[in-house]
Symmetry: C3
Subunit: 327 residues, 3 copies
């Protein structure tokens, strides 16, 4: 954090305008409902503008056109983007420091691995034979890459993730499971980001592929032979079973399960906790334990809630019509 | 294990009374349905008292008032508590030994981290910049603390857990996901215990907070900005999405999901596998894929089971009333 | 990979017959729908034989009796088994090499641990006090064994798995959770295979046991005191709560949850994402958020889908019969 930040100084840094007290000292940044004196906060989502009446923050970053009589403001085009610019500078000692980038002395890198420029590999990570890691990629601590894991440029892999472990492939033969050899690769295209404790299994024969710009939250499991297109997002604890094919721009909520061997079409969106059992159409929005179009799901849920009432009505009709179960 | 344990010796150690054979040698401790000759077992939950008729154990620890004609007994106020006292002494070579406590030579501790008294840090754990670890806290092997993780006193963190990794925060802009910088902290209050492979993400701006006395089982995921009160329990594989606020004394069964940005009130209890989609009232007991009051959930489940019968009845009525679908 | 493979050479290696061009050069192996010129592929499951008309592969391994006019074929008794034999030889630089087997210099093995013959222990793995590891067992990187973990012969444990961590056992007493000491063991019988990031908790008092030949996918959680029989399979992200007893030859789909203290009988099969809440009968096939016989589950699901239609019909009847809700 620089020695002193003021309202006007921050506005200038963000190419924004300010109103109120130019020399107001800003000593912290906090969420609007938790902020106190000295704190700067922001309203990126209009839903949170209600807090402008109650926040104890000293100043707020808002969009150019937001109407408010809050005294100390910084106005910018896009408050979310402004925060994205300000936070790393304001909280400059947080996160991985540029000066700490590099390959940690405890990282084990196989002699056949090929490592790009400005790659960061954190402590105790293990990079196996024939791995390739693209320029500017960041691998945090305790990551395991088995052999033949190919990672693109500007990727990030958080602590504890395991890439290239064997897929779950067995045949059942005379009362025992026999291993199907798993010898494929894992391929991550550029700008893939992956949270902590993800597992990406190697292909059995071909490759497990994650497309450009995909983002995976923590505890995401991608099974063998899965092919994922570009710019998909997988929230925490979601999982994809073997040989599923996923298109571009798909979004999966937390703890979503995708069945094996199906095709999830471009732009499919799946609500949290749903299970996608069969192939989808482009742009479908799905929800449910067994996922179906979200409109159908909601209608069914509403009817399920009315079931007790329906049952009682049915009973009255049965009595009225003198219908006996056994008649 | 000490050289020789007898029925009367154990009773004395537990401040209990004994009946039967004073010098009976106890060579093992086992669950009542699995125990054999030489074993001591116990009945803490009255449900298990039925096994008193069939157990092959040589002796049983029971409460002072339990009625049984089992020959060799130790009677104590609270059998569960007695076992809690006996086990670590009887099986004295099991678990982390006091003599092994300390900071393992392979643990990497950043020079800016502050470590309390009698802290244990296991092999290959990584403690990042500006972390603080309170007195008497135990961190097992392969744990990763990113920077600015603040841990209270008498906490336990099991192997492989990751604290302080980036939250899953992106904006979608012109066809790609852009990272929202994650620079907040993780704060664990005193006496938090956490199983293996938990992930606790750092706040985006403020802190992710876990209150005093909370217990987390294995594979629990707590997303960025979540605030959890005191003395909550999270069973295995449960997960909390970003910015949720959880009160005190809440209990979450295995694989429960909590939606982001909601408020779970004090004393809420959630059955295993449920998904809490909206804010709760104090003391609510919830269940269901989309969680609702457990009484409603059970009633709906019962009606769902009767659906085939209802459907057939409805069909009979339709025929009786000469109602045709298209009429 | 050997310098040159031909159709007839591979057929000979597999003890199969060939038809077509004996000297056809094979330069790769790929899935039938992804294969291109130079690739050998296979049809193990008749479902995939449809791709014989469109594949760009140069040659296909098929069973002896499959009817096809594809020009270049290798015929064997069991194509899946043939691939299992061919892949490790053809892709001979993939996976853990025999020459790399051994105990990595960074593996930490407690002086009281007993390690069998030809055991592989990968980098940064930690083997605690009184552990026993059977002959031919393979433990990959970053695995943590707490104390008293007993592993049989020919087992495989993938990266990041944690065995022997404390079970989740607490009593709630005067407003706080009190730890129940966890001092049991973990026992894996021979030929157990376990994916990445599994957690197997130690018994509280007795043992957590996984029977011979069981296979666990990634992210599987087995709680304290669970006893699992022989030759069971657990797909990714499945979990078993404390003290459950599971028989032989059970199969659990992805993300299945098994309740604590129940008995899952021999040969039970559970569909993905289901929750087994109560004990099962031998050979039952179950499905559902609260698992029930799969036939019942499917029937109920079909009725749920018809609920809107049923509700409308009921409404017509109500009007026809002049039934008012309050009457």
């Amino acid at each position: 954090m620089q020695s002193e930040w003021t309202l006007s100084g921050i506005a200038s840094f963000l190419n924004g305008t300010w109103q109120g007290e130019a020399d107001l000292k800003i000593t912290g940044i906090r969420e609007i409902h938790l902020a106190g004196p000295g704190d700067l906060t922001f309203v990126a989502n209009p839903v949170y503008s209600k807090y402008l009446k109650t926040t104890k923050a000293s100043a707020v970053i808002v969009s150019r056109d937001l109407q408010t009589d809050f005294p100390n403001l910084i106005r910018v085009e896009d408050p979310q983007e402004a925060m994205g610019k300000l936070i790393p500078v304001f909280l400059s000692d947080r996160g991985l420091q540029e000066s700490d980038r590099g390959i940690h002395e405890t990282a084990l890198i196989h002699e056949t691995a090929v490592i790009g420029k400005n790659v960061h590999i954190g402590p105790y990570s293990v990079i196996g034979p024939h791995c390739e890691i693209g320029d500017e990629t960041t691998i945090m601590a305790h990551v395991t890459l088995y052999d033949h894991v190919i990672i693109g440029k500007k990727c990030t892999i958080h602590a504890g993730s395991v890439l290239g472990s064997d897929g779950f492939g067995y045949t059942f033969h005379k009362g025992v499971f026999r291993n199907i050899p798993q010898r494929g690769r894992v391929i991550l295209h550029d700008e893939v980001e992956m949270g902590a404790h993800c597992t990406i299994d190697r292909g059995s024969l071909g490759d497990t592929v994650i497309g450009e710009g995909c983002k995976l939250d923590n505890h995401v499991h991608i099974a063998h032979n899965v092919k994922i297109g570009k710019h998909c997002a997988f929230a925490g604890m979601s999982g994809v079973a073997g040989s599923a094919v996923i298109g571009n721009y798909c979004v999966f909520g937390g703890r979503v399960s995708v069945n094996g061997h199906i095709h999830v079409a471009d732009g499919t969106q799946v609500a949290a906790m749903s299970g996608v059992s069969k192939s989808t159409k482009p742009g479908e929005i799905l929800s449910g334990y067994i996922a179906r179009p979200i409109h159908d799901f909601r209608r069914e849920q509403a009817w399920i809630r009315r079931l007790p009432e329906m049952g009682e009505l049915l009973n009255r009709i049965k009595i009225l019509l003198k219908l006996d179960k056994d008649s």
